[in-house]
């Protein structure tokens, strides 16, 4: 008898998002266990035998693979995923919250008339609604609990580091990998690419993966940001910051931490001169330890910190500078 399942779509850029895929598989496996469901991974990308074996070790019971090579067109992958979803009629479909996968999820949801919840921070099973999806909205000032109505399909996208605690190794599944054939009618019309230049300043992968982050807000002098950057780099850490600093052009966009920026999950997060606006705090909930430094003892950031230092950031950063020079 066909057992119901949860489908997890893999982001094909496994170099950048390989770990995110595992986070989602882990979460799906935990949800599946509650209702005795199977986890089916769908991967449309390059033929990577090692990675596919890893998928089967990180929570997937089944893996369906379509060899699309290096193609990254969202419409192509949408068609492949749609066929698999319509065939398998899953209880839930989970996508990584990457640019590509959100495009696929939105397209798929529109075509299927599915309920789609973006950037979920939690998914819970529910007797009445099957699943309840939580996400932040209104610059993270509220958390909304969302359910799907008038549909048999439930889809959600999830950003990196939200379920970083769910990454786990499982006994490898013995179910053979299902090969999905691309039907010959599939085209992949993409814009006529004229040129492409890699731009280091855009990448935020280092921030997403960083184990040590020094974050700066309005309460840090410009010259002090350079001192902190130089100091953290020596420990393999990364500097990030608040939306305000990005809006002012002091930090590039890829350094923004928060709801509209990156969700981080470092072992240590040190917030210098950051007041703690809810949309920023939303990005640091998974930091293992948070230390905050702010002149204002009533700064909201302190409520979300393990250690609070009421002080002027410059007074402390002076010592970082001394140590760097000495």
């Amino acid at each position: 008898m066909h057992k119901s399942n949860i489908i997890v779509v893999m982001d094909p850029d496994i170099k950048r998002n390989g770990l995110l895929n595992f986070e989602l598989l882990g979460k799906a496996r935990a949800l599946a266990a509650e209702d005795n469901l199977l986890v089916q991974a769908i991967y449309a990308g390059e033929d990577d035998e090692n990675y596919m074996q890893e998928i089967l070790c990180h929570g997937a019971h089944k893996l369906s693979f379509c060899n699309t090579g290096p193609a990254r067109g969202y419409r192509l992958i949408s068609r492949i995923v749609k066929e698999a979803v319509v065939l398998n009629r899953p209880e839930l479909v989970i996508f990584p919250g990457t640019v590509l996968c959100k495009a696929i999820a939105s397209t798929l949801a529109t075509e299927l008339g599915a309920g789609l919840t973006a950037d979920c921070i939690d998914i819970r099973t529910d007797a009445k609604w099957k699943y309840v999806f939580s996400r932040a909205a209104m610059s993270s000032s509220v958390i909304a609990d969302i359910v799907c109505i008038n549909t048999d399909y439930r889809i959600s996208t999830i950003k990196q580091n939200v379920f970083s605690n769910n990454v786990r190794k499982y006994p490898k599944s013995n179910i053979a990998i299902e090969i999905i054939k691309m039907s010959s009618g599939m085209k992949n019309p993409e814009p006529d690419l004229l040129y492409s230049e890699p731009c280091q300043e855009i990448s935020n992968t280092d921030l997403k993966r960083a184990k040590l982050i020094f974050a700066v807000g309005r309460g840090v002098l410009h010259e002090d940001i350079d001192i902190l950057t130089e100091y953290t780099n020596r420990f393999g850490g990364v500097v990030g910051g608040t939306r305000v600093l990005v809006e002012q052009g002091i930090l590039p966009k890829n350094r923004q931490i928060g709801q509209s920026g990156v969700t981080v999950a470092p072992d240590l997060y040190v917030a210098f001169g950051i007041s703690g606006a809810s949309q920023h705090v939303a990005g640091i909930v998974n930091a293992k330890k948070v230390i905050a430094i702010n002149r204002d003892e009533n700064a909201p950031i302190f409520r979300y910190s393990d250690y609070a230092i009421v002080a002027d950031t410059h007074d402390i950063i002076r010592y970082f500078k001394k140590e760097s020079e000495g």
């Binding site: 640019v99 008339g113 309920g115 939303a282 910190s305």
Partner: protein, 253 residues
């Protein structure tokens, strides 16, 4: 070339800078950016018409009036009590239907809104119109009657591509400040803004608003209490604060 700009009216508490005097609503900053960008092409003397479309209550017309003041040629408000309670699925249906009826070459808009921040609607519109959506657009330039040059971000690269109409472009950047002159606002006050309802768009009641939605917000609660931590205040002088930080750093590295 006929260009449709999808506009969302958001609560003015989220963005005072993009709000006109006396209005309850602000122009979504991402949509504002896309509108300004396409108006730039217009300024470069290319034969284009820019129409702003917004699905919202009657009072959202103030946002469309702001768009006219910024330089848009036309504005249309899609308004009907039956549209209320719409999620992104129902919203993209209404917008796509209006766009279909008015026959546009290019559809642009902000990739997301500052309130919902889902990023679904542009793709929903593109899907329904069976068009390609190019996202993370930072700028665009009209090449000729059928082609645009689009600059967009794709992961870690900046790409430049030539696209053919019809197409959907989603801009993923926002204006921090967007000032409109008093004269422009005054001139916009007299302009006519078309209003279309569900019947005009031939949209059935179960296809729009809450009835046409696939998601429902069960509840909204203020920022999650669970992210609060047990805080220990370190009360000392700057030097000891530095030493404390350095110790913590060494612990994890």
């Amino acid at each position: 070339m006929k260009i449709a700009v999808c506009i969302k009216a958001v609560s003015k508490t989220l963005d005072e800078r993009n709000t006109s005097e006396g209005s309850m609503y602000a122009l979504n900053a991402y949509d504002s950016f896309s509108l300004l960008n396409i108006l730039q092409s217009k300024a470069d003397a290319v034969d284009i018409s820019v129409t702003c479309i917004c699905m919202g209550p009657p009072s959202a017309e103030s946002v469309l009036r702001r768009c006219l003041a910024m330089g848009a040629d036309d504005a249309v408000l899609l308004s009907d009590s039956r549209f209320s309670g719409a999620d992104t699925f129902a919203t993209s249906h209404v917008l796509a239907q209006a766009i279909r009826k008015m026959k546009f070459d290019v559809v642009i808009g902000g990739q997301k809104s500052v309130d919902g921040e889902t990023g679904h609607v542009v793709y929903g519109i593109a899907s329904r119109l069976e068009l390609l959506c190019v996202s993370n657009v930072t700028s665009t330039k009209i090449l000729d009657g059928r082609h645009l040059l689009v600059r967009y971000i794709d992961e870690d690269s900046i790409k430049s591509a030539r696209v053919q109409v019809p197409v959907v472009l989603a801009f993923n950047d926002y204006n921090v400040s967007n000032t409109v002159s008093l004269l422009q606002l005054k001139q916009a006050r007299g302009r006519r803004i078309g209003v279309l309802n569900a019947d005009d768009l031939q949209i059935a009641e179960n296809e729009c608003g809450q009835a046409g939605s696939k998601t429902l917000v069960l509840r909204s609660t203020a920022q999650n209490m669970n992210s609060k931590r047990e805080t220990e205040f370190i009360d000392s002088n700057a030097r000891n604060h530095f030493i404390f930080l350095r110790e913590k750093l060494k612990e994890i590295c």
